[in-house]
Amino acid sequence: MKIRVMIAVCAAKFVGYVCKKMGRQGVTWAGKVAIKICPDILEQLSSQVRKAIFATCGTNGKTTTNNMLCAALEAEGQKVICNHTGSNMLNGVVAAFVLASKWNGKIDADYACIEADEASTRHIFPRIKPDYMLLTNLFRDQLDRYGEIDITMNILEEMMRKVPKMQIIVNGDDALSAYLAMDSGNPYVTYGISKPVIKSAANEIREGRFCKRCGEKLEYRFYHYSQLGDYYCPKCRFARPKPDFDAEDVKVGDQLSFCVEGKHIVANYKGFYNVYNILAAYAGVRTAGFAGEHFGDMLRRFNPENGRMEQFRIKGTGVTLNLAKNPAGFNQNISAVMQDQAPKDIIIAINDNAQDGTDISWLWDVDFDLLGNDSVKSITVSGIRCQDMRLRLKYVDIPSILQGDVEKAIRDRVEDGTGNLYVLVNYTALFSTRNILKRLEGER
C-alpha cells in the first residue's frame, strides 16, 4: 500500500509540474491522477496531520477565511497544509495534500485548512474527518448547480452527523448556519456582530425568513445584510446565539477595525463582509487553543493576491478587482465600492460558464440601483452575458457601455476614465481578468 501512495504522489507531482510549465492551473488534474492510482490517498495523507484539520464551508468568504486561518496558524509557528487557490472539490483537496507531501508519501504538518465546496463535502468529509468545521454563511448561489439552499443544508446536516466529534465554528448571525450547528448535536462555538453597523437595503433578498425549527416567520431586531442580523423566533425558542467571539466597535471605511476579546483588530480591507471573514479566522485560531497574539501582525502582512479586492496600477489608474458571484456577495461588493466616494468607473463582467452557473437570473436579485450615484462616472458591461447585464441596469435607469471584450473594456477606461477603476467579475472571468490586469500593469 505504501508503494501505491508513493507512486500516486510522484505521478501527481509530475502532472502538477507539467501543467504549471504549460501555464495551466493543474491542481485538480494532479488530484485526479493521485486518486486514480491510489483511491484512499486522501485518508492516507490526511491522517498524518499531527494536530487538527479545519474544513471551511459556506456560500461566501470561504477562500478568504480559509487562507486567513492558514496564515493565522502559521503566525503561531505551525506548519499548515491549505488549498490556497480555492480548488475546493475532491480533486482540489487531494491535490493540496499530495503536492504538500514528500516523495515518500510523508506529510509534515501540524494543521490542515481545507476549503470545501458544500456539495463536495460528501466526498471530502468521510475521508479527512475534520476536527473543526468553519461555517461562514448560506446564501442563494448557482441554483442550477447546487439546487435550492434546502439541498445544501441537508448535505451539511448529514456531514455533521457523520463526523459527530467535529466542532463547528459558526456565524451565529446567519439563522440558517446557526440552526444547522445548534441542532446538529455537534459541539459548536459562535461568532457574530451584536450591534448594527451599516444600513441594510430594505428590499434586499433574504433567505430563510421562516424558522427552520417550527416554520414561524422569524423576527429581526436588525439586519446587517441579506439575512444576517439579530433574529429570533416568536413561537419556539430559536434565536441568535450570544456570540463567543463578538466583534464590537466595528468601523467600516477605507480600512476595517473592530475589537474582539479586548484586542483591537485593524485590517487594510474594504467591505463590511470582511469583518466576518476576519472574525471567523480569529475564532478558528482561538478555538484551536492559541491566544491569537500574532493575529494582528498576520493581518497586516496578509495579502491574498487572489482577485479579492486586489489592487493594480495601470498607467496611473488605480484598479481594484473583486469577485462577485451571487446576490449576497454582489450587494456587499457594491456597498464596498460605494464607500469610496471619489469619482470612479466600474466594469462588470458576467460569464455563464459551467463553473459560474449557466443561469444568470440572479443578476436581478442584486441591488444595482445603488450604483445610480453621481460618483459613478461610467459603467461598462462585459463578459459573455454583457447583454443581460446591460438590460439589468436599464431597468434601474442606469445607462451602460457594452464591451464584450474585458481587455478592451479595461484599456478603454484606463484611457478615458477617472483614474479610479473597479472591476467586478464573476467566477470564470476572475482568473482571465486577473491575468489581463497583471499583464497591463507590466506594460509600459
Binding site: E148, D150, I205, D359, W364, Q387
Partner: protein
C-alpha cells in the same frame, strides 16, 4: 390609467430573479406614463382580487411551495373567479405548477389551485438549461432558463409556445407553458419578462383592456437592448 400588480407571497416564492419580472412590468408602465403599483402579499394577508389587474405567482423551493399550497386553498374560490373573469395572471415555475390540479412528488401530493386543467408529476432528474420558444402570440422568440423536476401535462389547453431549444413542459411533447384566457403559465425564468418585452406588454395590454373595457394600443418603447439580449440567446442556442 393605472395598473395594480399583486405579487403573491414573495417571502416564500422568490426564487432567482422573480423580482425582475415585477421591475419590468412597473418600468414598462411608467415609461409610458401609466401609473403602476405592486402590492406584495404575505401569507396571512387578505387578498381582494377585485383591486388587482395583474397577479404574479412565482416559484419557490419545494418546502416553501408546500407551505404556500395549504394557504392557496383558502383563496382558491376568489382566485378562480378572477381567472374566469379574464383576470391577468403570470405564473412561473412553481407558480405554474400550482395553477393545476396537483403536483405529485415522491414527498407526497401537493394540491394545486385548479385554475387551469393541468397537472404535474415529478420526473426522473431535473430539466436545467437555457430554453427558447416560438409562440403564436408574438413574433419575437421567447427566451429564458428552465430548472424543474416536475413534468407538466396541459391536457387540451393551448401551450405558450413550441420548444426550439430546451425541454419544455415534460421534455417530450415539444411544447412549453400554457395559455388559458388571460393566464400564462410557464417554466421560464431568467427572469422571464425583461428579455421578452412582447410578453410583458401582452400582460399590460390585457390588464388595461379588461380594466378600462376598451381596446388599447400601447405606446411603443425603444426595445433595442431587450431585442439584442433576446437575439443573443436565440442565435446561441437555435441558429448557431
Amino acid at each position: 390609467m393605472k395598473i395594480t400588480i399583486g405579487h403573491l407571497y414573495p417571502d416564500l416564492l422568490n426564487l432567482y430573479g422573480d423580482r425582475g419580472n415585477i421591475q419590468c412590468l412597473m418600468k414598462r408602465c411608467q415609461w409610458r406614463g401609466i401609473e403602476a403599483e405592486t402590492i406584495p402579499f404575505e401569507l396571512d394577508d387578505k387578498i381582494d382580487f377585485s383591486k388587482l389587474d395583474i397577479v404574479l405567482l412565482g416559484g419557490g423551493s419545494d418546502r416553501e411551495q408546500m407551505i404556500v399550497c395549504e394557504k392557496l386553498q383558502e383563496i382558491q374560490p376568489d382566485f378562480k373567479a378572477y381567472v374566469e373573469d379574464n383576470g391577468v395572471v403570470i405564473a412561473i415555475c412553481g407558480g405554474y405548477q400550482l395553477l393545476g390540479k396537483y403536483y405529485k412528488t415522491d414527498q407526497g401530493n401537493m394540491k394545486g389551485l385548479d385554475l387551469v386543467d393541468l397537472y404535474t408529476e415529478q420526473g426522473e432528474g431535473r430539466l436545467i438549461q437555457n430554453i427558447v420558444l416560438q409562440s403564436d402570440l408574438f413574433d419575437m422568440p421567447i427566451v429564458g432558463f428552465e430548472n424543474h423536476g416536475g413534468r407538466t401535462c396541459i391536457n387540451n389547453n393551448k401551450p405558450l409556445g413550441k420548444v426550439l431549444y430546451g425541454a419544455g413542459n415534460d421534455g417530450k411533447s415539444g411544447y412549453e407553458g400554457v395559455v388559458y384566457k388571460n393566464v400564462i403559465g410557464t417554466y421560464l425564468h431568467g427572469p422571464l419578462l425583461p428579455k421578452n418585452p412582447q410578453l410583458a406588454d401582452w400582460l399590460i395590454q390585457h390588464a388595461l383592456e379588461r380594466k378600462y373595457g376598451k381596446e388599447t394600443e400601447l405606446t411603443p418603447l425603444d426595445d433595442s437592448q431587450e431585442k439584442e439580449a433576446n437575439d443573443y440567446i436565440y442565435h446561441r442556442f437555435v441558429r448557431g
